[in-house]
Symmetry: C2
Subunit: 586 residues, 2 copies
């Protein structure tokens, strides 16, 4: 089995030294949250993750969810753990106190999301979509619906789902067929089949609140005729008591490569009673409130799983003896952590993970500003940057999660391929993250066509970081890094210009370049985060010499060893799409 100790020190480093978004620090309700409180929350979170949630990973993998006679049963121990989980209030962390939440910022809840992903992604998924449903209802439903459903969701007694996909449409929701027919009481009768519904049915909560995309007959074709409905598994009376079963049934659950402790359901809706959320035919917009935050969390899943993979590879490397290290005077075999190649592999993981955690913290502050700042313009501006960063976090973190879990297996050698170590499970569990909530290719297309080419968000981002970097370049400790960074930033600018030009002439060139563009952007955004860490580390080095020197060293590794990957993606992408469009693929 894997071990896991939450990286509270690194998280507190970010909270104490890199909470540098001016607008974030202006948010009234977060001013009273101090470092001690955060540390206390993170330590409690670390404890429940290590003691109660981590063991569920292996249990769920060995005893997948069971579907029998229309009922889904979670793996052994999940019920008891979930009970404790909601008793301790973990589902309510970032929710509004009006509905029973604890009003904590995303800066803190994102750390918690990471820890849960590190411990057991399968267990996490039971409550994760509830937060999505919560956000969607909070922002789009009318007050009566909010009052009826939100408190129970916040408490964790009820959970939530997102019902988008149908067998013939995943990416392309315009094709969906699920129907919603208006009834005399203003509710709707929902009929159709939804697939790949995470936590679509299970035995952990008293009720399940489905958020379902469907079409009202006569609505416009394609994605402009989609509305959003709240469909509870059990109907809820006006006084809030859970009533009779609604017309939602589980047809089957998927047998999957990983996250076996999480049920992925086929749900049949047969004249199920539903309530419209948000305006008619604007369902996709409302759903995207949920989707966008969810996509960021999927990126965090990749980060969390990577952290566990790293920790376990590291501790194995400190135990296993094999071969002689260079310059070793040892007569016996050396620990493999003494071998340069193993250290390279571990530094690869470490520099990506710590960079991504810092980048995610930077984005978390932006999310909090976008949700809670008092100035509408500031809110919108932060929201724009969040929307730019969403596909990057989702895809880049989930893809590097594959790289890191893959490398971690390799550190274990033959043992990594067996079930005993738990390391191969991380590789399998993480493999869903580049797929769900929109495949990484869809994210790349979203980044390029919707965020970069269609508006000015990109320029805003470049302006902001260029401003920050200008200040850094005056620091002689940073000047070499800043020079390198500026070279790569210029490449990003050139790449963006190339996309802009090609978008007028050859859309296929653009489409074929999206994935490379996203990767280039991701590596450069991480370099930006590392620059900020470098600045702080040099400024504060006397406060914790060993810690900050290690940060400087890891940043140097990142700039030397990881950042050059950008070049290959760029050169490959700008060679265009002619060969692939010409291929006959017989």
């Amino acid at each position: 089995m894997t071990t896991y100790n939450a990286p509270v020190e690194d998280m507190m480093f970010l909270y104490d030294y890199l909470k540098d978004n001016k607008n974030y620090n202006e948010i009234e309700k977060y001013k009273e949250i101090n470092s001690d409180l955060v540390k206390d929350i993170l330590e409690q979170a670390a404890k429940i993750n290590k003691e109660i949630i981590l063991p569920l990973a292996k249990t769920g993998d060995e005893n997948p969810c069971i579907y029998e006679n229309g009922i889904v049963r979670s793996p052994p121990g999940y019920k008891e753990a979930y009970k404790k989980f909601i008793e301790d209030g973990w589902t309510s962390l970032s929710c509004d106190s009006k509905y029973g939440g604890q009003d904590m910022p995303k800066t803190i809840s994102t750390f918690f999301e990471e820890m849960l992903s590190s411990s057991s992604l399968s267990f996490k998924l039971y409550s994760e979509l509830s937060i999505g449903a919560y956000n969607c209802i909070l922002h789009h439903a009318d007050q009566k619906i909010k009052d009826k459903f939100l408190p129970k969701i916040v408490e964790g007694k009820w959970s939530g789902t997102m019902c988008l996909t149908e067998s013939h449409c995943g990416t392309d929701l315009g094709l969906l067929k699920t129907k919603a027919v208006k009834q005399s009481d203003n509710s709707y009768n929902i009929s159709g089949q939804k697939i790949f519904i995470t936590s679509g049915d299970h035995d952990l909560t008293e009720n399940i609140i489905h958020l379902v995309l469907a079409k009202i007959p006569g609505s416009p074709p394609g994605s402009k005729g989609i509305s959003l409905f709240l469909v509870p598994k059990f109907l809820v009376d006006d006084d809030g008591t859970v009533g009779s079963r609604n017309g939602v049934n589980t047809a089957s659950i998927e047998t999957k490569m990983g996250i076996k402790g999480s049920p992925t359901c086929v749900l049949n809706f047969e004249n199920a009673k539903g309530y419209m959320i948000g305006p008619e035919n604007k369902g996709l917009n409302s759903m995207f409130t949920m989707m966008n935050l969810e996509r960021i969390i999927v990126g965090i899943q990749g980060l969390g799983i990577s952290e566990t993979a790293y920790q376990n590879a590291l501790s194995y490397a400190k135990e296993r003896k094999q071969g002689k290290a260079n310059n070793s005077k040892n007569k016996e075999a050396d620990l493999i952590i003494q071998h340069a190649d193993i250290r390279r592999s571990l530094m690869n993981m470490k520099s990506l993970i710590e960079g991504q955690r810092s980048f995610a913290f930077w984005v978390s502050q932006l999310i909090d500003v976008s949700l809670n700042h008092s100035d509408k313009k500031v809110k919108e501006s932060a929201g724009d940057l969040v929307s730019l960063m969403t596909p990057i976090i989702k895809s880049f973190f989930s893809d590097t999660g594959m790289e890191i879990t893959n490398d971690a297996i390799q550190v274990f050698g033959g043992y990594g391929y067996t079930k005993d170590q738990g390391i191969e499970q991380l590789f399998r569990d993480n493999r869903i993250t580049p797929i769900y909530e929109g495949t990484n290719s869809v994210q790349a297309i979203d980044l390029v066509y919707r965020k970069v080419l269609n508006n000015k968000i990109f320029d805003k981002y470049i302006d902001q970081i260029t401003g920050e970097i200008k200040e850094f370049s005056e620091d002689k400790n940073l000047s070499l890094f800043v020079q390198k960074f500026q070279k790569y930033l210029e490449l990003l600018n050139n790449f963006t210009l190339w996309l802009t030009e090609k978008n007028k002439l050859s859309k296929d060139d653009v489409s074929a370049a999206c994935n490379d563009y996203l990767k280039v952007f991701g590596y450069i955004a991480l370099a930006h985060s590392w620059l900020k860490i470098l600045k702080v580390s040099h400024d504060k080095i006397d406060q914790n010499k060993e810690f900050f020197q290690d940060k400087i060293n890891t940043a140097t590794y990142y700039f030397d060893k990881i950042l050059p990957r950008v070049q290959a993606h760029y050169i490959s992408a700008i060679s265009g799409s002619e060969t692939m469009m010409k291929g006959n693929f017989n």
Copy 2:
């Protein structure tokens, strides 16, 4: 379940147009093998792979091997398939006719190895190590042993294993503890435990011939005191009849991420009777005869699995409709193969696979020369090149196998993550290939320290391909490709010089760069193969226009899109090892 049609056309293209090694064409016994015979063999091979072996992949994954009461049982249907497999003579394809073999060259048997890997790696592994054992016995055992054991192995009635690894030593065989004590009849009593033994026990063959590394008490310490022994599961009488059980027992089998239809055994040797193969204390040398060919086959496994992944991703892309392609006038959704990004992904796979197949064919000719040429010097010279290419095929093909199976899952979207499609199984099955027969890091170290830095093989390789390229550069169709290639070849030369210099000053810099060096070498070696394909395709274009134009197009893709990766590996590697050696890894 996956589908698979052996790429006989592409194989025959190589056999007909790229059998260009002068020395290969001088080998007397292969002169009578003509194109029609080869095509006939490949078509028969394609048939048994598609009809009988392919279905075993899913069966083995769903019904892994069972270990009960000391006995290992193979998955349902494996016995029957194996019976047919040996009846049709497939185990004897490349073996010596003196022992019942068919004397086919590696150029042909390697195609067959690829097909088997494409169909079911688990099933393949039952006979694969037999070929290894065959080679080892053929080259190192005395005649009596050969006569006693080889015919049955060639016939497939007995199978073979390689017993190297012990729990405390995989890479570092110098640490092994298994003991061999000489007996009065000149046999040895072998005692110790071996782990990760592929096909270590099963019910497909009447006997299992273990080749075991062990130490004779009093022999020199480390790897210089290791001898090799043949230890049959059942003792064999002088007349060849199978006698009583030897002291070898199966303690357990591993529960693994993939290749579940193949038993990976822990074997206990307790005073098992063994016969020394080759000279005392030179066991590692003898074993390496087996290991080297085996390593190449592991690379071919990666290629074979990649081919199946590609074929299935391609056919899914031709069925699945989703979204609108650029410039599409279709009112409904388009097939995903019309999307530039999906085509990019498919071309990535195709250009790697076809390039690797061609590269492997080039190496296969060298292997045949190294084994069968009449001139000893020519033999040795070819053997040198094979030894240089062995770690590259093993690591580069198995690593790109991970890239390709990963990308294939992505083409399937959510369906790729479920068990139904069989595509995720390819990803899991292939994950063993970068690990076994020496991890890919060990291969990279072998390449750099033993093959490149320690002798002149590298120069010989560069001389040979420079000569070939010179001729190509006069062809105006190729000149742009040759220019690009020369640029990258210069980079490989610079990288090699850098390693040579650093080897005197900072071994850690070299060790940390080995993996990047191997990748750089691999990509460039593939580019060399693509150049040869380009030459032939332009020269012969009138013979099959569509086929050769597609080759030219795919080669162009490779040069534009894949080859630029080299740059990133080089820049990253030559930044040295200081940061990783300084990291404190707390």
